[in-house]
Amino acid sequence: MPIPCQGFTFTWGGATLSEVQELEVNLQRDLPLGRSTTWTPNLGEVRLLSLSIASLPTSEYGRRKQLTIQAPAATIRRYPPLNGATAVNTPAATLCDVDCIYRGVTINATANGVVRFAHTFKVMDTVGAPTNP
């Protein structure tokens, strides 16, 4: 079932992140290091392209907080109809719920355009999953 890319909510330590245009979640886990069979320093990365730096001031650099990204349930139309119906209900989905460190922002400004902010988060722990030992 497709998930429409609208109505997303983004929270960082409970604060709402607004005007996010693009989202890239990479939860690919690296191979374990050393003698450990599970530990790895690299659990993934989340990148948000936003029109805003609200809720993400420079004082947040290096902070570790919970980053949650959710897609709402929705009703969309699909064609051709499925079993005679064009209305299809899509379920709510949690796209990302992780503990992250806010690594920083890349600011991109172009003439005759708007400023865009690329925020990068390093995943430290997957909330609800076994802790990274």
């Binding site: 109505g7 607004s18 989202l23 029109l51 929705a74 708007v114």
Partner: protein, 143 residues
């Protein structure tokens, strides 16, 4: 209410007259056709920036905003042009600037002698066998 057409009485006081000043030299043309065209340059697709985002709900309109810069007025950038056909042998050089004034039955339709401003976007003059000398001019009007 009817008006005389430009072709009928182009230079009389009762018909439609187009007077343009080109680099300080004023002339009234025997026009056969005038088209006033207005296009909002701000409505062009590339004049707006898409600021829609993932937080917008399903079915909402795409958020857009005007680009910070506006297109230049030259070469039609203002979106307002006057295209006119005339009979005569006046050569209108492109790039010339000045004022324009269109009158219908003695009353001003658009333009004036001081505040109006235009740039000649393009022009043609055709000399053909068994015909009058005809020309066409396209003026870009400033906003």
């Amino acid at each position: 209410m009817s008006f005389s057409t430009p072709h009928d009485t182009g230079v009389s006081s009762s018909g439609t007259k187009l007077t343009i000043t080109l680099d300080g030299v004023s002339a009234t043309y025997v026009v056969t056709n005038i088209v006033l065209s207005n296009n909002n340059p701000g409505a062009a697709a590339d004049a707006r920036i898409n600021i829609g985002h993932l937080g917008q709900t399903l079915g909402e309109q795409v958020l857009q905003m005007d680009a910070p810069l506006v297109p230049p007025a030259e070469d039609g950038g203002s979106g307002r042009t006057i295209t006119f056909d005339y009979i005569g042998k006046s050569v209108i050089f492109d790039g010339a600037t000045g004022t324009y004034h269109i009158q219908v039955a003695g009353a001003t339709l658009v333009g004036g002698t001081t505040v109006s401003y235009h740039t000649v976007q393009s022009s043609t003059l055709t000399l053909a066998t068994n015909d009058a000398i005809r020309g066409q001019g396209v003026l870009t009007i400033s906003r």
